[in-house]
Amino acid sequence: MVVPMAEGGAATPQENWQRLSPWAVGFLFLRVLVDFVRNNIPALAGAGAGVALIERIGLREVLLVSLVGVLAVALVCLIHYRRFAFRLVGDTLFVRRGIIEQKELKVRAARVQHIAIEQPLYLRLFGLVRLHVDTPGGAAAQVELPGISATLAEELRTRLLAGAREAVVGADVDHAGDTSAASGASADTGTHSGVVLFRANARGLVLHGLASNYAWVAAAALAPFLGQIERLVRRLGADTAFAERLQWFADYPLAGALAGVVLLALTLVTASVVVAWLRFHGFELSRADGRFRQRSGLLNRQEQTLSRARLQAVELVETAVGRLLGRSHIVCRQIGAVLPGEETSGRSFLVPGLARADARGLITEFWPQGQVAEDCLRVHRYFIRARIVRLSALGLLALGVAAATLGNPWYLAAAPAVPLAIWPLAWLHWRVLGYCLQGDYLQVRRGLLGRRTTLFPVHNAQRIDLAQSWFQRRRGVADVTFVLASGPVTIPCLPRSAADHLTNLALYRVEIDHARPQACR
């Protein structure tokens, strides 16, 4: 590749080595300090170690050491900023970084998996954004440009994505130039080309918060302050006036327990709704030439794009509460595995608060032929028995351990109840479990009270696993796993003939798909 020299007169502004905005030094500095405080405050304050330290070596010394530490951090941040540079040549992003040893990272557009633009509150004041570029090379190859101007980020993204699309589709660059001009508007004005597919309203977000449990996100944010909260509670417990009020609960244990449960549920629900609202405020999903883009967030405004070529599977998630409220959400799975637990984090492409009809309509936006069918084929009934045996074994083991540790052999008398208690669960699981093949699209539904339906074209399979235990071989059933580039999808206990059909069909489709010209993929 011919790389024009940085000083070359013909180079476009992006082709010269560029620095981050000078404000970035401040942000880096603050982030390091905040991280340090967040990680160490619970240890220092919680156990009283900080006080002990100050008493031991004196306040002045501690302050002096802290000052030296802060200055060192500031110096490191300054050096980091001075040595951090990036440029875009053609469709390749070069990043030069490193404090002691300077490294140059080269990210080709074709290898870019995911680009996200974030604008936290403190960056919004300066009109700056943070740009993340994910590649399949692991943590060392992730690029973050903290603190570049919104217009520059937009342009970098457009060019990287155009390059990526060019690699996939073979489109001409002039066309991409058009889009960059059209969508070159800054991230905070909110205007860009494309068709708006979905806008989440306040009601949808509240229902989404109710239906999905975001309370643990709030809990995780509060985790560093657990020590302080615990001490506060203890101080309240020691307070006699408060203890008298608590006496009421002791007098009416049933009402007290009920009040406690209601209070806890209300807290969790409120936290969940607040987190959902912070995360998805002003959610808007739009499409512009084969790319989907979503923007959302109240304090931390984020923007993500998804190209159809990189979409591996679409998941329609209806939680148990969501089914009561008639709301579901869609998670788009892209190349590169994101664990199910991470889907509420910013990395995954999630469309919240969808009504039933909206969800179905949106799936046809992603894949015109993709449809979620209501009636699925069930798997073999042997699944129920296998599930009961497996879970009962665990339950009986737990019972045995309990009996042994408590020294009460009468606990073992409950053993026959374990499979009986598990049977309805296994049956429920089996009833929901289903699969359906429509044209090229395979749909797999799982869940207990909720539903999680994964839809994907079978030609997206990277690998197919068939597993059969000894018992399954006797029954003529097999577990089939389609390993997509976004993660595995398993259909357990399929009749062996159906499993073989699906496998043969998928292998055939993979070949057909690969033989087609790249533009169709």
Binding site: K103, E104, L105, K106, V107, A110, Q113, T135, P136, G137, G138, A140, A141, V143, A167, Q312, I335, G336, A337, L377, V379, H380, R381, Y382, C436, L437, Q438, D440, A461, Q462, R463, I464, D465, L466, A467, Q468, S469, R473, R474, R475, G476, V477, V483, L484, A485, P495, R496, S497, A498, D500, H501, T503, N504, L505, L507, Y508, V510, E511, H514, Q518
Partner: protein, 199 residues
């Protein structure tokens, strides 16, 4: 006829579900059937190689348990009995590993690579050649002593190896690797796969 073929239609539910199975676009009967594929066993030297590896660990751990004073204090259990139990477990494992190794089989078709492993839970992995991004051959010191090589195949998206064909003889593995690389080049117009970012 393969033994499971009879069994697959043994249960009424299985038969009904098989009939319900829908398929619109393709004449499934004429698709190449993977289940008709005859898998070839891997090298016979793989079983002794695995057994030796297990036994080496067994000897090391048994010696460690036998020589350490930690287990002298357990009342009613002599030092040698703990060591004997450890040795027994490793012997059992050795037998299982031997049987498992003799059951492993593989096949290379025009469009995919198939590898079967496991005795109680039998698992078959099918990797379409079109999906292979990168192939490498690996061999540890013990495998080298037996003239064996592992073939690691990587596909997109996965963080780990997608298919490990263990227990191939060196010449076979090298030929397969060359063939796979050739096929990848044929199938893929893009230049050879490289890392997402080069330093």
């Amino acid at each position: 006829m393969h033994p499971w073929r009879k069994l697959a239609f043994g249960s009424r539910t299985a038969r009904r579900l098989a009939l319900e199975f829908r398929n619109d676009a393709v004449d499934v009967k004429n698709l190449p059937a993977w289940e008709a594929l005859a898998l070839a066993p891997i090298s016979r030297r793989y079983a002794p190689c695995r057994l030796l590896a297990v036994m080496l660990w067994g000897v090391v751990l048994t010696a460690a348990v036998g020589l350490s004073p930690e287990f002298d204090d357990i009342p009613g259990v002599g030092d040698w009995r703990v060591a004997a139990a450890v040795a027994g477990l490793f012997l059992l494992r050795g037998v299982l590993v031997w049987i498992e190794a003799r059951y492993r089989a593989w096949a290379l078709r025009e469009h995919d690579l198939v590898y079967r492993s496991g005795v109680v839970v039998q698992s078959t992995v099918i990797l379409p050649l079109a999906r292979i991004q990168h192939v490498e051959t690996v061999s540890g010191p013990l495998e080298r002593a037996f003239g064996l090589v592992r073939l690691n195949c990587y596909s997109a998206g996965g963080l780990s190896t997608d298919l490990v064909v263990a227990g191939l003889e060196r010449t076979t593995a090298e030929r397969v690797r060359q063939y796979l690389l050739g096929r990848i080049r044929e199938l893929d117009d893009e230049p050879a796969a490289d890392g997402g970012a080069d330093g």
